[in-house]
């Protein structure tokens, strides 16, 4: 059975690769000693992580009072960072699940790293609600377990508890999905390794041999997990938005929040994938697998979701005016022109205005511009969460309660520390696991490798040349 090759689609794997070359290119970074760039990045990440751990320890030892939260502003950088990280953690599952269902082949180049990123981002996110509790040693109270206090159950009607279930489910399912995809690739690494590495990868590969029946089940499992993960990924940020939307705070109590949060999550997640992939492909020399076409496809998603987010911002403003409700109107006037006007401005500039340059194909395909845009989007999305949380809370119903909030060094340190944690995990990941899904890339080689697409394009051209006189002949009669 020969594969059907589109004569017009651009190749997703360049460099005329063979199956063996794919294995060689993707596995070899895990077999070599790390380069200077890796060691430097790892050192910096470990240092920032250590400082973050110190700040977390400080918070737990001294208490939440060491943050500058006050009676009016009860959520500050902690919840901002939580929502930011959870949002970033949305791209991985979107790429691997939703794009699998849509049969988007470009997913294969980036899904592994994006899923890894998802898992690490969710870990960073999960830290914030835990330390925000104040008494972290009682964190197990959030689980409904039979206890000696009655048993007294948790409040299943509370969005904060829904969040516990949503995020722990999301983390578990993402991890299972990611690891099941990794098993055949770990087997590839195992079969090339020697000595102690072979023993380690033998353990990680779960005894995979590549039997036809196993592959069939593996594909069935991936497809159903993708089908489950698709509504799951949409539900997670929907439920995060319920934390706000089910309250009675003007500016939070809106039905637009779920779709707006989900679009924003995909937007920031893709931006983080681009930031990481642009560096990874360069350092690990994976330009043949993560091509400019992959980057362009992701930029299109950024443009779409950025525009959805922008539409949501404008809709919020319109509805606030149209509602005729002065508290709602004030909430939005305050966001744009109040004490935190600069964060609203940063959000609008980074999230709505700057992604519009991606209407131009040249910019979508520019690695330099994409890299800076991806950083802008991440900054903009952080501002969005800060705008929603701090700006809204700063201006309470009672003007006597109005307040202002500036984070302390501890809060900044914890945020920087989670960035350190994220990069420590990611850097370890690129050293020990194949960064690109080897088996999946091999399975699209015959349809998307450049030697095959060129051949198909040539055949198509020949066919057209051949057919043309024939048609004219028909018309003459």
């Amino acid at each position: 059975m020969s594969a059907v090759v589109s004569p017009i689609r651009e190749p997703l794997i360049t460099g005329g690769k063979t199956y063996h070359q794919i294995t060689e290119d993707i596995v070899s970074p895990t077999e070599k000693m790390p380069g200077k760039a890796w060691v430097a990045a790892f050192t910096v990440s470990v240092a920032t992580l250590s400082f973050g751990l110190f700040c977390i320890a400080w918070t737990i030892w001294v208490g939440i009072g060491t943050w500058d939260l006050n009676r009016t502003i009860g959520w500050g950088w902690d919840i901002t960072n939580f929502v930011w990280w959870i949002g970033i953690g949305h791209a991985g599952t979107l790429i691997s699940a939703i794009l699998l269902l849509f049969r988007q082949k470009w997913r294969t180049g980036v899904n592994r790293a994006a899923e890894a990123m998802t898992i690490f981002a969710v870990m960073c996110a999960g830290l914030f609600p835990l330390i925000h509790m104040g008494r972290i040693w009682l964190a197990f109270f959030i689980f409904p377990y039979p206890n000696t206090r009655g048993p007294l159950w948790v409040n299943f009607n509370s969005p904060l508890l829904w969040d516990v279930f949503a995020i722990s489910t999301y983390f578990t399912v993402s991890l299972l999905f990611w690891y099941t995809g990794l098993v055949p690739d770990f087997a590839t690494v195992r079969d090339r390794a020697k000595g102690i590495r072979k023993r380690i990868y033998n353990f990680l590969a779960f005894g995979w041999t590549g039997k036809a029946k196993h592959w069939q089940r593996w594909e069935a499992l991936s497809l159903v997990l993708a089908g489950l993960a698709t509504p799951l990924v949409l539900s997670v940020h929907t439920i995060v938005s319920f934390d706000f939307a089910t309250s009675v705070i003007p500016g939070w109590h809106t039905t637009i929040f779920p779709p707006y949060f989900v679009a924003g999550a995909i937007f920031s997640g893709f931006a983080m994938v681009l930031t990481l992939m642009i560096i990874t492909r360069k350092i690990l020399k994976l330009e043949d697998y993560i091509t400019v076409n992959h980057i362009e496809s992701m930029n299109k998603v950024i443009l779409l979701t950025g525009t959805i987010v922008g539409t949501a911002y404008l809709t919020e403003l319109f509805i606030a005016w149209y509602s005729g409700y002065i508290y709602e109107q004030f909430a939005f006037y305050n966001r744009a022109l109040g004490v935190y006007w600069w964060s609203y401005f940063g959000m609008m500039a980074c999230n709505v205005i700057s992604p519009q340059i991606f209407w131009v194909k040249k910019y979508r395909r520019s690695i330099f511009i994409t890299f800076f845009m991806s950083i802008f989007v991440n900054i903009g999305m952080w501002f969005e969460r800060f705008v929603i949380i701090a700006t809204t809370l700063a201006r309470d119903y009672l003007p006597s309660s109005w307040s202002y909030y500036v984070p302390t060094w501890v809060e900044i340190g914890i945020f920087v520390g989670t960035i350190g944690l994220f990069f420590v995990m990611y850097l370890i990941f690129v050293r020990v696991a194949p960064v690109v899904a080897i088996a999946e890339v091999k399975s699209i080689l015959k349809t998307s490798g450049d030697q095959y697409t060129k051949e198909a394009a040539r055949a198509n051209y020949d066919k057209m040349l051949h057919e043309k006189p024939h048609h004219e002949h028909d018309h003459a009669h």
Binding site: W153, T172, V173, T180, T188, G207, T209, G210, K211, A439
Partner: protein, 175 residues
Amino acid sequence: MKEYQEVLYGLYDDETELMDAVRKANADHLDIMDVYSPFPVHGLDPLLGLSESRLHITGFVYGALGTLTAFLFMTWVFTRDWPIIFGGKPYFSAPAFIPITFELTVLFSAIGMVVTFYTICGLGPGVTNPTLDDRITDDKFCIAFETNGYSDEEINKLKSFFSSTGASEVNTKTI
């Protein structure tokens, strides 16, 4: 289960050759033990007579179990075990149970299916299955025959099958 298996296997360089060889083996009524490949080869399953995986059915069953567990448990807690009024809402406030019910449906289904997958495939942490050739997870496609108690004539028949279908290598191994 036998103590050991003598296996005669041939390696192919391309999935197209593999598929043609499997077709020929079917035509010659050869009893293929198994086919190994570095990635899923589409269209191979019907040739090998493999029926469609029923893993998705187990996924549905586990999911349904999750739905019932979550919904019935929350209903029991708030109507029987410890009824509390939250915000003037009824004890049985079904809409508020939906998010957790959904999450547990997905969680049960995913965990159940993954555990089932590894169990029925005989895979898992610390499991070591015998492998025929290290290049099968790289770029070789393999057809294997079990040759326990085969006569030389039968083995030669298999070898000529491999050479006629373009196998790049033919080896034997006891696993």
